[in-house]
Every structure is written in C-alpha cells, then in structure tokens.
C-alpha cells in the first residue's frame, strides 16, 4: 500500500474533547463567577467557530437572494445554499435533494406534513403517536384530527421509559393511517427501535413520520435504511444556527401533498385564472429562505464529518455511564428514563425538591440544565411529576463536568436540608 492510499483511508484524528472544546468559543466563559458547565444541549446546542465563520463569510462575501441568477452574487448565494442542501441530503442519506425541504425547524416540518396529509384522512382514521412525544409531535396531529374527524392514539411507555411494544402491536390496526414517532425522547433519552416499527407500519400501508430532533446531535440517521416516509430535525440542536431545519420526505408523497404556504419561489406560474406549483423541493419553500442559516447548517455538518464520530459516540456513552454511577452519591435522586438503549440525556428528580429549585441552585454554580415539563406533559403525567430536571450532554462535555454536576447537586441538597 502506498502513502497516497494510506492517506485516503486513514481515520480522522482520534476524538479529543479538549481540542473539540476549543472549537466552541461560548464554552470558555464564566457564569455567576464559575466556569460555565453547559448541560442543556437537548434544548439547544452550542455552535463551533466553523459555523460562525461560514455565516459571517456568507454575509461578507456572497449574500444576495437565491435562485434569481441575474448576477454573480446571486450565483454565489445560490450555490452556497444548494450546496448546503446537498450536505443535508448526504447527512441523512436521502436519495435526492428533491426530497430535502428547508423548514424553520422540526416543529414547522411536522406542521407542514400534518397539513399536507390532511386530505388523506377521514373520520375514524387513527394517527398513532407515543406517550413520549414532544408536544410538537402531538399538537399538529390533534389539530389535523379536529379538522378531519381522525383520532390521535398514544402508544404507552413502560416505567423504564421504553415504548410498550405489545401495546404498539395491538394499537397498530386497520384504522391506523399515520405513525408519528420520535426517534429519541427529549426527556428520557430513549432511542426507539424505529427501523423495526417503520417496517411493521409500512407493511400495513401506514405513513411513517419520524421526529429526529433529539437523535441527530448524537448519531446520523439513514432515512433509506430506516425506510420512513418523513424525517425531520432542527439545525440548532445539531450545532448549527437557529431558525432553520430540514425535512426529508419521500418524493412520491411530497408530490402528492398540496403546498403548505403560498408566495414567491413555490410557484411555477401565477395568473388570476390558474396558478401552478414549482417542482420539488421548491414547492414547499415559499418566500426568501433562511440562506445564511442553511449555509451555517451545512458548515455544522462539515464540522461533524471532520470529527471521529465513533470516538465521539464512545465519549458520550462514557459520560452517561459515569453519571449513572454517581447517582448514588446524591441521596433521594432518581433517574427518570432507564431504557437500555439511550443517548446521554439524564432526567431526574430529587426527593423533596422541585425541579426549579434544583435548576436555580445549579445555575448559581455555573451549571446550565433544563427544568420543567420539557413540552412533554403527557409523559410528566405518566410519571406523576410536575416536571423533571434534565442534564443533556453533548460530545464537548467532559468527565470533569459530569463530576461537577454531582458535586453541585450534593451542595444543593445540603442547602435544602
């Protein structure tokens, strides 16, 4: 083997958390006089310099409206924008960029689909969701159910926070028309066995919609391997900018669906007699899109591609293992969500303390977590809690930060004693 082929196949530099942290300028700051420990990645992740620079460079050197083509800047902007779409396609392993629609995020993507599928539904039809869904994967379906007479049916979860597969099997029935399921629970961290469930649903002709918002920060989805009809995520949870997300949709279904919003870009020809729609993906992209944000998302994907993904995942898993080991150092602490297969997300409660008490006193110690119902009230009801405290880790978190969290929790407990 000569040197050249070695270079081609050589693995990326081994994952090094200290090196990676230097790529995220925000992580170096102090909060309340303490070094910031950012453990609210499930709500929104931080951005590497590569993303900030790409967006800055876009505005400095190439900004113009896209798809207008009358001048050089327009060409530059269009090629950066469509280049980003190609990066998203490759990231999700979709067959074609025609199947990648820009949205404002996961929430808008689900609304777009719910709206687009409404014409397929009639009274008595069922939309199967799970009890661990984010409100964004419940409410748009409820709104559509109200319009059509269809019904939203929840699949229960087990106490460990896994999908109850026996119930799934019995609830997936002749009336089921749509399965809308999260890939990863934002509260529990549970990774659902999406490929198998999609296969079962598809065998019955059920349309499958997978919410990937909490999955993509931890692993790459392969929409062709999953076999789902729709898959969506938000850029800001994938270390990219806010205000943009991507929707994968099977071309055949996207062709069939009516446009979501009317306006510029999404039309082929407009007259007062008859207006015709643009081709995919533009049919669903009315108005000037979030161009710089698309470029930023493309840069985030490039950045992740440059990392040792296997090493990164192993490091994340190690964080969760360590966190689980340390639970016993905080008396009365209980983890909510103990699925076998989970991403590094740790929801918990501490006996006698309200989640907001925990969050406030961790913040005083420089530690950012999320507290509350996490937009998953049905799940809170199931566990009988008003909310949970949630530490959600990203690959840039360190073992020391996990340990600091537990030291800080011990301090919180002493204060309330």
């Amino acid at each position: 083997m000569n040197d050249l082929s070695m270079a081609k196949t050589a693995p990326q530099a081994r994952f090094d958390v200290d090196a990676v942290r230097r790529d995220f300028p925000i992580l170096g700051q102090q909060v309340n006089g303490k070094p910031l420990v950012y453990l609210d990645n499930g709500a929104s992740a931080q951005k590497p310099l590569a993303v900030l620079d790409a967006m800055d460079r876009y505005y400095r050197e190439m900004h113009s409206n896209v798809h207008r083509g009358a001048h050089t800047l327009g060409d530059r902007a269009t090629s950066a924008f469509e280049g980003a779409r190609e990066k998203v396609r490759a990231f999700m392993n979709a067959a074609s960029t025609r199947e990648i629609i820009w949205t404002r995020g996961t929430t808008e993507a689900i609304n777009l689909i719910a709206n687009g599928l409404a014409q397929r539904l009639k009274a008595g039809d069922e939309i199967l969701v799970s009890q661990m869904e984010h409100h964004a994967n419940i409410v748009p379906w409820q709104m559509m159910a109200e319009r059509t007479g269809a019904k939203v049916v929840p699949v229960p979860v087990t106490p460990a926070g896994e999908l109850d597969l026996d119930s799934f099997n019995s609830l997936l029935g002749d009336n089921t028309k749509i399965l809308a399921l999260t890939h990863v629970s934002n509260v529990l961290g549970t990774i659902n066995p999406v490929a198998a469930l999609v296969e079962q649903a598809k065998a019955r002709g059920v349309i499958t919609v997978i919410d990937g918002a909490q999955a993509v920060p931890h692993f790459q989805p392969d929409v062709q391997a999953l076999g789902c009809d729709f898959y969506m995520f938000s850029a800001h949870k994938l270390f990219g900018p806010t205000g943009i997300g991507a929707l994968y949709g099977r071309a055949e279904l996207l062709e069939e669906m009516p446009p979501y919003q009317g306006g510029g870009e999404m039309i082929e020809r407009v007259s007062f007699e008859r207006t015709t729609w643009n081709t995919l993906p533009y049919k669903f992209e009315a108005g000037t899109p979030a161009i710089a944000e698309a470029v930023g998302l493309g840069a985030a994907i490039d950045y992740l591609d440059g990392l040792d993904r296997e090493g990164m995942q192993a490091a994340e898993d190690a964080l969760l293992v360590r966190a689980n080991e340390l639970v016993e150092t905080v008396p009365g602490m209980e983890i909510i969500g103990t699925a076998k297969n989970k991403v590094p997300v740790m929801s918990f409660k501490i006996e006698g303390l309200h989640p907001s008490d925990i969050g406030t006193l961790l913040d005083q110690q420089g530690i950012a977590i999320r507290t509350g119902h996490h937009c998953a009230m049905p799940l809170m009801d199931f566990y009988g809690v008003p909310g949970t405290a949630r530490a959600s880790f990203a690959f840039y978190n360190t073992m020391e930060e996990v340990e600091q969290l537990f030291t800080a929790l011990q301090k919180v407990q002493r204060l309330f004693a």
């Binding site: 309200h354 907001s356 005083q364 204060l415």
Partner: protein, 152 residues
C-alpha cells in the same frame, strides 16, 4: 377546611417578621449560598395552606412551579391578608418576602408600595433567572389586582 380569619391574621410574615428584619438579614449575606439559605428559611414561615383552596381560581399562572394565592379582607380594620403556597421551596421563600412587604396592609397602602424598589434593594433580580423573575411578577401582579378590586 377553608382558611379562617385567624389563619390569615396569625401569618407571621409582615407581622412578627417585618420588612426591616428581612432587609437587615439580607445586608450581611455576601455569597449566594447564604442568600438562598436565608430565602429558604423565610419560606418555612409560610402558614399551612388549606388543601381545598388549591383551586383554579386561586392558581397563579406564569410561574414555573405551582403557586396558590388566597386573600381575606378584614372589613373592620380594612386590612388585606394574604396566604401563598408553592411546591417549589425557593418560590416559597420569595413569596415570604412579598408577604413581608405587602401582607396586612390596607389595599390603598399596598398599592402605594413600590415592590420593584424592594426587590432592587434586596438585589434579588440580579440573582434570579428571568423566568423566575416572571413568576415573581406574576405573584405581585395578582396581589395588586386583588388589592385594586378590594379598594374599588
């Protein structure tokens, strides 16, 4: 049981524990641990809240935790008495501070009290997250609404 007039009038907050006590206490606390320990202790003075008053009309919306608020207007003295409860310990403490400043006043005096100035004096908002600040404002807003209605 519903709250009796005695429950309201025996509330130590604003009576035995005065605003001066709280301001004096706060003055000597210089780190966050002491400050929060003080707030938590104040919360322990909140009288027990009657179970059957945990109803929708007594619920204070806009807080991260559950907050309940009831009042009693003593016709003879004209004084307005308040009871607050929350399932979050720090919120109980913040409620206690509000009561120390506003409990047992006539609606007119209550409305004349500048609570924001008090919070500034206590340097509370600097140490309290904006979301919790909203909860504080929601509590104060509801109390002022009650006072305005009783004064009318």
């Amino acid at each position: 049981m519903t709250a009796s007039a005695e429950t309201f009038e025996n509330n130590p907050l604003g009576k035995d524990t005065t605003l001066e006590d709280v301001l004096d206490g706060f003055e000597f606390l210089d780190d966050w641990e002491e400050r929060y320990a003080f707030i938590i202790d104040l919360g322990k003075q909140l009288p027990a809240f009657p179970e059957d008053e945990r109803r929708e009309e007594n619920y204070v919306h806009g807080c991260q935790s559950q907050v309940w608020l009831i009042h009693h207007h003593d016709e003879a003295t004209g004084k307005l008495y308040l009871l607050i409860d929350s399932d979050a310990i720090i919120v109980r403490g913040l409620a206690a501070i509000i009561l120390v400043a506003l409990n047992g006043k006539t609606p007119r005096d209550l409305l004349a009290t500048d609570i924001d100035e008090l919070f500034e004096q206590l340097d509370l908002f600097r140490h309290i997250s904006p979301t919790r600040g909203n909860g504080l404002r929601a509590m104060v807003g509801k109390i002022r609404d009650i006072a305005a209605a009783e004064a009318a």
